[in-house]
Subunit: 495 residues, 2 copies
């Protein structure tokens, strides 16, 4: 190829490069593309840098640097006394043709992803709409004490605290100590701080439990209905999730169920999500006894316990099962803010060592500055002040929603639970399609979750709606209830 | 039981309660314990609150509140006109005996944990000692621009930025845009910001790839030797990791290997960890072609590319494989700080939707304030300033270590790679036990990693040592090299 022909090929490729890149980089990319797509073939002798520079009206240095880079990367080779060649040995294959502009034929997701990946990619648990009336699971963050949090974080982002920027093992000591004290005084959980492990959210904590305690194909019992997020995490860890229906005393496994015992039972005893049912003492004792007998583990999700509006809180199962088979799960997502991504497990002493190693190896830990700020936030009393304040705000929003909705739809719906948390769950007294109601309200700007999505066997689901009120200021509740009421009434009339 | 006997049992239990708890809580716990361990049996009628209060010399209100709580939780029941009874129906079983102080017989870890949990709990990849000369993988954090970082974080922890405290989907837009620009200009990675997904560290990013792209039992090829962390994550996701030996051109699969193609290939082409080998162009092209042919995926770990001491950086494989089967993996752990826990994937367009859903469902995302601060840190130029500065500091430490060690042990060792990153790898020219050398230096206060731990088949390992110098100030390098030299010389003499 003569210099003119090579110059043409390169110029053509130069035109399509991103203009903001340096000339050297653009020339490198243009030459590389010409080699990869066969415009300049293996074995071709390139013109000397000075000649190509003239041809392209570029500085010689620019060409030299592009040649150098291509030499380093193996596209070109220098032959002593004989100039620069495109390597003979380049096996271009598909790369060349891909660069030639012909896109590969589109593959369908099922061809691209694994079976479990395909299943994961089809999940729709976490809605794309994450705000507004009545998105469940979203706390109010407008009233968060930003200034205090900024001050505490700033205190630990300091040269003399530089060790907090490194990797961590097992979490920040003072946070674990503050948590141990908090759990002891408010949740009847008595533990050594070393039993507390810090995670980036409850999903990660559950994932560790699933992998440390269960192998692929092991069975996990879950409350039906229950939190879809847990189901997804456990399934993605290869476990079979078995739905165990609830009655008014909570999860109600039959003697037959116990003939085929699970490896793990996931429960939310203090306030079942989403029904708000409190697990009765006899059920708790039975679960503990059967878990001991069958060497099963119980994960106690103590969701919502901090935000209780009436009635005394019920003591934790962990506190009942001294050194037993209960793992306690807590999170700061609802009482601090979701984006914080700090959750924790309290594990029995015999699991501590294994879990610490597994946690470190699987996830590598860090984020000690956040943990230090949180420890001080708790120790200084900001945590309990903030919870108390939010409880008042949430209670007002909750009461407003309850009064408005029950005032309008009283005969058609029945409230379930509602003594704690940041949502209200209503069953419909007649047969309606709750998913259709959710679609119709969404089209009118009101988000809610149909109860059927919380079921593994939606065909057995009792229709209902889950309404999150925590992030909805009082004046916005009435209008949203009006929208919801009209949709529900339309459905009840067979619309 | 008469009131005196009940009073005695309760008093005895009261004495062992944590004194810092309120009297009401201690009395509740003492009564509960008495019921659970059979000190007060089901069906027992309790004395009226006034009588028990007298007996225990407590306020009547304290007793009433403890009774109330036990009633709520189902331990006690009121019979109309007939006082308060311990529930007849309580099936105490094991809980009672566990409370009675007899600890359950200790189970061995293998009985407690799953098979994969047991494997995880035995891993020792991430050392318990995470600092000092010559711990690999630990950057210097003393020189981090704390003030700038504090200012940027503080800017986003504000009421008007409260939306950053909520859950996230797909990561913070401006960070993904800043990364796209950075990757384009410095790594020849051309992508749309939507192709970039943000993770809590590389382990989580790898975990998502493993689950979205592979099913249990699928094969992954890894460089041998290679980073143990990847191996652990992929194995914990149920994959079979197949070690493919390196030669001086990088990972070197044979034609026979390709008869049994993998689902995923994990490579670090720009600077293989830990050997520093650069993957040759012909190998890159061959990998890309075979991946296309066998519908395999390539994960390109671009570890260390920012910290390069001589030679031009080699362009990424992602940039070569337009819309192909390469997934690019990057992290801020070494160039910012490990505890930050922010890493990212750049995925081909056809994987974006599935990965975003999978990521959200599996891990729930948040931490937008950190991501916003990082985006601005990059956009304001602090990132490149910091890297330039650290490159100078690291180069001096690297050169000091290299000169000292090669001056003392020159004939016994051979350096591998070392053009980039924060570690130096040396092979031994004679047969020695590198694990034993690591043990002996550790006993003398010097941490290092034997090369054998990076092998899946340690029996085929060439002995060597991996030395991290990044967090070791220059004056400390000489003394640590002396310790190391004496240990190695002792070993070479057959000690």
């Amino acid at each position: 190829m003569d210099v003119g022909l090579i110059g043409d090929v390169v110029l053509q490729n130069l035109r399509v490069q991103t203009p903001s890149l340096s000339l050297r980089v653009r020339l490198y990319l243009a030459l590389r593309q010409a080699i990869l797509d066969g415009g300049i073939r293996p074995g071709t002798r390139l013109p000397p840098s000075r000649r190509l520079a003239q041809e392209l009206a570029l500085g010689r240095n620019t060409v030299l640097k592009a040649y150098d880079q291509l030499m380093i990367e193996g596209y070109l080779e220098g032959r002593v006394g004989d100039g620069t060649y495109v390597c003979e040995t380049l096996a271009l294959g598909s790369v060349g043709s891909a660069r030639g502009g012909k896109p590969a034929p589109a593959e369908r997701p099922a061809e691209l992803l694994s079976r479990r990946g395909t299943e994961l990619s089809r999940l729709t648990g976490s809605s794309r709409v994450q705000h507004g009336a009545f998105m469940p699971g979203i706390p109010d963050v407008e009233h968060f004490p930003f200034q205090v949090w900024r001050r505490l974080l700033g205190k630990y982002i300091q040269p003399r605290q530089s060790h907090l920027l490194q990797y961590a093992v097992g979490g920040y000591g003072p946070l674990r100590a503050a948590l141990a004290e908090y759990l002891r005084s408010s949740r009847m959980v008595s533990c050594d701080p070393r039993q507390i492990l810090i995670f980036n959210g409850t999903h990660q904590a559950l994932d560790l439990c699933a992998r440390m305690l269960c192998d692929t194909g092991d069975r996990v019992w879950m409350e039906e209905p229950g939190y879809w997020g847990v189901r997804n995490v456990l399934r993605a860890a290869g476990l079979e999730t078995v739905p165990i229906p609830l009655d008014d005393k909570g999860i109600a496994p039959t003697p037959d169920d116990w003939l085929d015992p699970p490896k793990l039972v996931f429960v939310s005893p203090s306030s079942q999500y989403p029904t708000g049912t409190v697990l009765a003492l006899e059920r708790r004792l039975e679960l503990l006894e059967q878990a001991r007998r069958h060497k099963a583990w119980i994960i106690e999700d103590d969701y919502d316990n901090e935000l209780r509006y009436h009635g005394n809180p019920v003591a934790s199962m962990f506190g009942l099962a001294n050194a037993g088979r209960v793992i306690y799960l807590g999170t700061f997502s609802k009482v601090m803010f979701p984006g914080l991504r700090i959750a924790y497990l309290v594990v029995p002493p015999q699991l501590v060592d294994g879990f610490v190693v597994g946690n470190t190896e699987l996830y590598r830990e860090g984020r000690l500055t956040d943990q230090a700020a949180l420890a001080e936030f708790i120790a200084e009393g900001h945590f309990s002040t903030h919870i108390k304040r939010m409880r008042g705000i949430y209670r007002e929003r909750r009461d407003t929603l309850q009064d408005a909705l029950e005032g309008r739809l009283g005969g058609a719906i029945s409230r379930s639970g509602g003594h704690a948390g940041i949502h209200l769950l209503y069953h419909f007294n007649a047969a309606v399609d709750d998913a259709r109601i959710a679609e119709q309200t969404l089209a009118r700007g009101v988000v809610l979750r149909p109860l059927s999505v919380y079921y593994q066997r939606p065909e057995l689901a009792r229709p209902g709606i889950n309404l999150g009120y925590a992030s909805v200021p009082v004046p916005r509740i009435g209008p949203a209830v009006e929208v919801l009421t009209r949709v529900v009434e339309g459905q009840l009339k067979g619309g």
